[in-house]
């Protein structure tokens, strides 16, 4: 996973475009972006415009909505804070220590990306309910977790942890040993060195992780709704309020709530980016990665052994409670009534239909977003044109907005009350509450995934090779297939795996748009929700177990790709 899209600035003063194919890549990328993301998004503006300013204020300041914002923001804040602490511990343990099971721990970090949010939601709810494996321990002490803010926070911790780990980890890997050695030569111990010398080096990355985890927490729907319990004024999160307004067909109200959430996310990202840019200047005060000497022996040998043990234990316990227990719970609940009940639930007619739709939606998302990702990444990394940065930022939008809002924009566009609704009805085309809507929503939420993986790789490669080939007379297809493509093979595979994982588990967006028509527009995650809400727990977990198995396979694939890919670069 890459954080933020950093554009390598390279001025091309003559504006000479040596590499052929600009027109094609530009045309394809911009057209796809406009049709699949920008036009649907624009309907937010259209819809918000239907409320007068005072109506808008009235909606978003109503008591229920305000309490929704308050719940979402405060829980997301605390969750992001916890994630920063454990994220740094996890990154530290993964970079600095060797211990058995480290590879597995590392591979599990991405579980929250790969595990469908609805599955995570029902697993966490069961785990932390008063009768659950963990919840029961707290219940004895009189502490309730499920259906309280504590539960919401835990679900948000679950979804946010990979953001912090994966942004801190590479920085820690590249951190110049010189700083620690300098501190040691001045007499500093391990603890002081960490807090005064290492930690400041990690702030920018930790801050980026905090921002991403916070934003994800605010927008998260699937893994939070179940454990929240949705008690008005107490545990209703903002995305849920959007959802319930939509169910009442109050599109304008839903839009108003969404607009405020979008503004909050935008301001948050702006703030964090500014702090990062400010901190960047300190980096010129010394180069990093200059002495790449391997781990220094005295560190490994003596005094900090007990600390090492404590940190590894903290990391492992965190991962067991947050990741392993939910998985085990899914499997054990699925098999609670025996193998036959399990098989019956899995082979149920509606389960098979849902599986088929999930495969269709995931397949479409992967195909569309791979094509888009390749074109857009080549466009931005290989050609110079004004507005590249803006384009990269626009492509990234679906990544940072709540899936519920993603669903909302499609309702506003294609729904009966949407701006294209009249046209579609006249021609008898159904998109919302039909299969095309499910596909569009899935494509939308995973839109930047392949692009984000490809761009840094292509940027790092530069364009010298392409320019050399172009000067020798190679055409665009030859250049792409012989030069550009070989560089991006591994990143492409990686992006496809991430895209698949996210697409098969998408819940919030699809939930808004599907109408929950059993056997028609139900994907597997939606089917899980229905079964769970019908108190058909065994079936819900049985279906979940299918998704867990797929998630685990994808995680293993991911680890293999990372391992093999890093050897082949």
């Amino acid at each position: 996973m890459q954080q933020g899209i950093g554009i390598v600035k390279r001025k091309n003063p003559h504006g000479v475009r040596v590499i052929p194919g600009f027109g094609l890549t530009f045309g394809v990328s911009v057209t796809m972006l406009a049709c699949l993301v920008l036009i649907p998004l624009a309907s937010i503006v259209w819809s918000a415009g239907r409320l007068s300013f005072s109506e808008f204020i009235q909606v978003v300041t109503s008591r229920q909505i305000m309490s929704g914002y308050q719940v979402s923001l405060s829980c997301a804040f605390w969750a992001a804070l916890v994630n920063v602490i454990f994220g740094i511990i996890l990154a530290w343990v993964l970079v600095r220590y060797e211990f058995p099971g480290k590879r597995i721990l590392d591979g599990m970090i991405e579980l929250p990306f790969a595990l469908p949010t609805a599955v995570a939601g029902i697993a966490l709810t069961t785990l932390y309910s008063d009768q659950g494996w963990v919840g029961a321990l707290f219940a004895k002490a009189g502490i309730k977790i499920a259906y309280t803010k504590a539960g919401i926070t835990i679900a948000m911790i679950f979804v946010g942890i990979p953001f912090v780990v994966r942004s801190v980890q590479p920085v820690l890997e590249k951190l110049d040993r010189g700083y620690e050695e300098a501190a040691m030569m001045l007499g500093a111990g391990r603890i002081r060195t960490f807090f005064k010398v290492i930690l400041p080096e990690l702030y920018p990355a930790a801050l980026a992780g905090f921002g991403l985890a916070f934003a994800r927490g605010i927008g998260e729907y699937g893994s939070v709704v179940f454990i929240a319990g949705n008690i008005p004024f107490k545990t209703q999160i903002a995305p849920l309020l959007i959802m319930s307004k939509l169910e009442q067909f109050k599109y304008a109200d839903a839009t108003a709530i969404a607009v405020v959430l979008l503004i909050i996310s935008f301001l948050l990202m702006l703030l964090i980016n500014s702090i990062q840019i400010y901190m960047q200047r300190f980096h010129e005060g010394g180069e990093n990665g200059a002495s790449l000497k391997k781990i220094v022996e005295p560190y490994q040998k003596d005094s900090h052994r007990p600390l090492k043990g404590v940190l590894i234990a903290a990391a492992v316990i965190f991962m067991v409670v947050m990741m392993v227990l939910p998985l085990l719970l899914v499997l054990s609940s699925a098999l609670k009534e025996g193998w036959d009940a399990y098989v019956r639930a899995v082979l149920d007619e509606y389960t098979i239909k849902a599986l088929k739709l999930t495969v269709l939606a995931t397949g479409s998302a992967v195909v569309v977003n791979t094509i888009f990702g390749i074109f857009a990444a080549v466009l931005i990394s290989k050609y110079y044109f004004p507005g590249r940065q803006l384009l990269a930022a626009l492509i990234d939008i679906p990544f940072s907005i709540s899936p519920v809002i993603a669903g909302l924009v499609f309702s506003l566009t294609f729904g009966n009350l949407g701006w294209m609704g009249g046209f579609l009805q006249a021609h008898n085309i159904k998109i919302v509450f039909a299969v095309p809507g499910v596909l569009l929503a899935t494509i939308f939420v995973t839109f930047p995934f392949v692009f984000r993986e490809l761009l840094p790789v292509l940027q790092a490669q530069g364009k010298d090779e392409e320019e050399a080939a172009a000067l020798m007379g190679a055409g665009k297809w030859k250049i792409f297939s012989r030069i550009t493509f070989p560089h991006m093979r591994w990143a492409l595979l990686y992006g496809i795996v991430l895209c698949t994982a996210r697409a098969m588990g998408e819940f919030g967006a699809v939930s808004v748009i599907s109408g929950h028509l059993r056997g028609v527009t139900n994907t597997l995650p939606l089917h899980v929700e229905i079964l769970y809400n019908e108190f058909n727990t065994v079936a819900a977990f049985a279906v979940s177990s299918l998704l867990v198995i797929m998630a685990v396979i994808l995680l293993i694939l991911r680890s293999v790709i990372v391992a093999v890919g890093s050897k082949n670069v």
Partner: protein, 246 residues
């Protein structure tokens, strides 16, 4: 001898970075470790500092074996090749870092920091951050930071490597003068023989992990002990340098 290396051996994955290294340096001397790239200079310096541990042999400081004492407790100042200034601390905080560890009072720390800033002629720049300094200034801050806790021994790894040729000459004589004034035993690494001849009292010539010769610049240049030293050292440059000095 103030500091002594006795039959030191060090391998990295089977590669001999130090082979039977033995030498001694007297108190108050300024010694240079001179040799071609990869000859094991940095490795020797890091072992004295406690940043690397020798496979065998003894390191003695004032006749005390220090092999098992962690670097943080050896009372050694170290100036890193790329300075390793703490980027998120001001110049003054960088210099104060080692003093804070010694649990000095606020007042003592401030006085010592001011004294050192004066010494490196950067009195008014204490509030700056490393990114606001020139290469030469950073070098001097690194020097002051290493000196702040009053080390018995100062180690410098290629202290002038990252500085352009002109400033380098000035800094070189500045450093020699400073070390003379503070009176601290020092060892610096260099692969520039002119630098070694001009600055050091004692030169230790290394090659392929071994010590080829140890002696004063004059001894090394006029009486090379091995054919390697004979080929490596440019005697004419030495004589020219001597004439220039007089």
């Amino acid at each position: 001898m103030y500091i002594e290396m006795k039959d030191i051996n060090k391998t990295f994955d089977g590669f001999h970075a130090s082979q039977d290294v033995s030498f001694g340096i007297e108190k108050g001397h300024l010694a240079a470790l001179l040799g071609p790239s990869g000859s094991g200079k940095t490795t020797i310096l890091r072992m004295i500092a406690g940043l690397d541990i020798p496979d065998s042999g003894d390191i003695l400081i004032e006749d005390k074996r220090v092999n098992d004492i962690p670097g943080s407790k050896r009372g050694i100042g170290f100036v890193f090749q790329n300075y390793a200034l703490f980027r998120y601390m001001t110049v003054a905080d960088n210099i104060a870092f080692g003093l804070e560890i010694q649990k000095k009072s606020k007042k003592e720390i401030r006085e010592r920091v001011d004294e050192l800033l004066e010494l490196i002629s950067m009195k008014d720049l204490g509030k700056r951050y490393p990114h606001q300094l020139s290469g030469g200034q950073r070098q001097r801050v690194a020097f002051a930071r290493a000196l702040a806790p009053n080390p018995h021994l100062l180690l410098l790894d290629e202290p002038f490597a990252a500085i352009d040729a002109k400033v380098r000459r000035e800094l070189r004589s500045w450093l020699k003068e400073m070390i003379g004034r503070v009176g601290v035993t020092s060892i610096f690494v260099t692969h520039d023989q002119e630098e070694a001849m001009e600055v050091a009292d004692t030169i230790i010539v290394t090659n392929q992990g071994r010590v080829e010769q140890i002696g004063s610049p004059e001894e090394i240049c006029r009486h090379p002990a091995t054919s390697f030293v004979q080929d490596f050292i440019d005697r004419e440059r030495y004589e020219a340098l001597r004439i220039k000095k007089q």
